[in-house]
Symmetry: C2
Subunit: 334 residues, 2 copies
């Protein structure tokens, strides 16, 4: 059997099964956005690690090096944010072909540096090495969070409202434009590609949501809302209902989808890399939290569905009708 | 300019200059085997990150997957050991082509698992992804050490004896056999290849040496003794004298070098990946420490040279004569 038949989640399960016997009660390992390592009675370290590989996660001519520097750190900060932490230290493994220009590297570091500075992350180490052909970037980020505020995928409760912190599908639309190799003809198309290449990271939003007791489960949207909701469903042992009519869609995505005849709901449901946060909230507190969130951040916390008792599933509704049921996720190897 | 002209250390310097302005007095960033992040008044976390890439660091048909699993973790534990720490948690980023067999991956995880179990390291997370062509492995290890015991490259003192914890050149000899694609014909050749593919890691030795006040500087030998001694020379602002007549050589390397007419001193001085520790020791205490080390570990702590006042240099002596002066190191990009 080859790894593409086993699949990404099959592989992760295999690794987890191999090592989880060694987990003691104090640490949390594979299975959430970050690992949790207790620091003291009050605070834990959160650790996450993400890899971006040329021609798999990006095309060198489809992204400015500054944007890649930004994105390679942003995806990690997003994992820390999704558990309610503050990202603190980064470790960069940068493998590049020997012919890579120093200008490209300087510009890559510019992007990494600017996001690190803005988000208060310090690059403390890593590794640099030659790669035979493709750029490979792995960043590990260590953050910290108050133990009482750490949010897990597994904490959704029946009746919870499901909310997201931003637009869905924009990054997928940007990727679509890049894959079709289109010349960008207006501001909307440029917005979508910018969202794909230079994702905004909900670092402050994550910490604020995590500080709210009424917020139960949290995760960041990396593989598409259907897939990431499935992780919450599986970890919490519940069914998540998502109403496609309520998915927040940007003006840029609406206009560009009409222009190119894209299925906008499909993009919003299944395209990845939006790096907004999904959380589930006590229904009695949801309205209060949405208002407080708007007051604090000047942007909406969009309600898009509900959690209910039932076997782990994600049920997608459109105009009141069930349009699909998902019990899997995005597969990197397929 | 291309990155191969800038060189590995030029690139690391560029990254360091970019980020060290953000280091506060409590953390230690780029410039030693590990970064140091204080945990509390008594203990710090040590963090290190190493990448192995197919066709750069290994050939898939030159190493058993179990050995690669072992080695990819061992190189990181060695960095923690070199600063006197105990390796505790590992994060694995594994990027493999979609056609990689599940058997290969299982065997890779076997090797990683066995070393992790033996050394008390827990795999807590990471990332798995597809790679277009070559396997790329990045492991980040977090360890801890008592603040008073952490050993740095920069702490060598004039007059110190330079010691190493094991044979030099064996790994380089093994690599030579692999590069020449030789059929291994005896136990000695197999020993050298085994040392290259399955390095022993001086985890306990490092911690014990670190607990000795008379041990001043420490580093692990990854790029060859000349190159790694240069890191100590540069960080400490001193000259290191190394006597090639005193370099510890294994019977397997001596016999195999004679057989293939290799320059054994050159291998022992400049070949890398032995992962033994180099430390500098107060000359008045060196004899006592060597004896205690032998009693504790049943193996020798070999004295191979001295530290003296002078500009940062490594001077290599053979039969009493200076045979070369080094003021650079191994370059991954050249």
């Amino acid at each position: 059997m080859q790894v593409n038949e086993l699949g990404e989640f099959g592989l992760i399960d295999q690794i987890r099964k191999r090592f989880e016997g060694y987990y003691n009660s104090s640490v949390t390992g594979i299975g959430d956005d970050c690992a949790i390592i207790p620091k003291n009675k009050f605070v834990s370290n959160l650790v996450t690690c993400d890899t971006l590989i040329e021609n798999i996660h990006f095309f060198k001519n489809g992204i400015q090096p500054e944007d890649l520097g930004h994105k390679s750190l942003a995806v990690n900060i997003s994992d820390i944010a999704a558990m309610g932490g503050k990202a603190e230290y980064a470790f960069l493994s940068l493998a590049v072909p020997a012919v890579t220009s120093c200008t490209w590297i300087t510009r890559y570091l510019d992007g990494l540096h600017d996001l690190a500075r803005d988000e208060g992350v310090i690059l403390l180490g890593g590794d640099t090495t030659k790669s035979p052909e493709h750029i490979a970037i792995t960043i590990t980020v260590i953050g910290s969070a108050d133990n009482q505020n750490i949010k897990r995928r597994s904490e959704a409760k029946p009746g919870d409202m499901i909310c997201v912190t931003g637009y869905l599908g924009d990054s997928g639309g940007g990727l679509q434009l890049l894959l079709e190799n289109r010349k960008l003809t207006d501001e909307h198309e440029r917005n979508l590609v910018h969202t794909h290449n230079h994702p905004r990271v909900c670092h402050h939003e994550g910490r604020w949501l995590a500080s709210q007791q009424a917020v139960h489960a949290m995760i960041d949207i990396t593989d598409g809302i259907a897939s990431d909701a499935w992780h919450v469903a599986r970890a919490s042992g519940l069914t998540l209902l998502i109403d496609t009519e309520q998915l927040p869609l940007s003006e840029s995505l609406i206009i560009t989808s009409e222009k190119h005849d894209w299925n906008i709901r499909q993009l919003a449901v299944s395209a990845g890399e939006d790096y907004v946060l999904l959380c589930t909230i006590d229904p009695l507190e949801c309205d209060r939290i949405q208002k407080a969130y708007y007051k604090k951040f000047g942007s909406n916390l969009f309600a898009i569905g509900k959690v209910k008792q039932g076997k782990p599933n994600v049920e997608i509704f459109g105009k009141g009708e069930k349009i699909s049921v998902l019990s899997g996720g995005f597969e990197h190897f397929q």
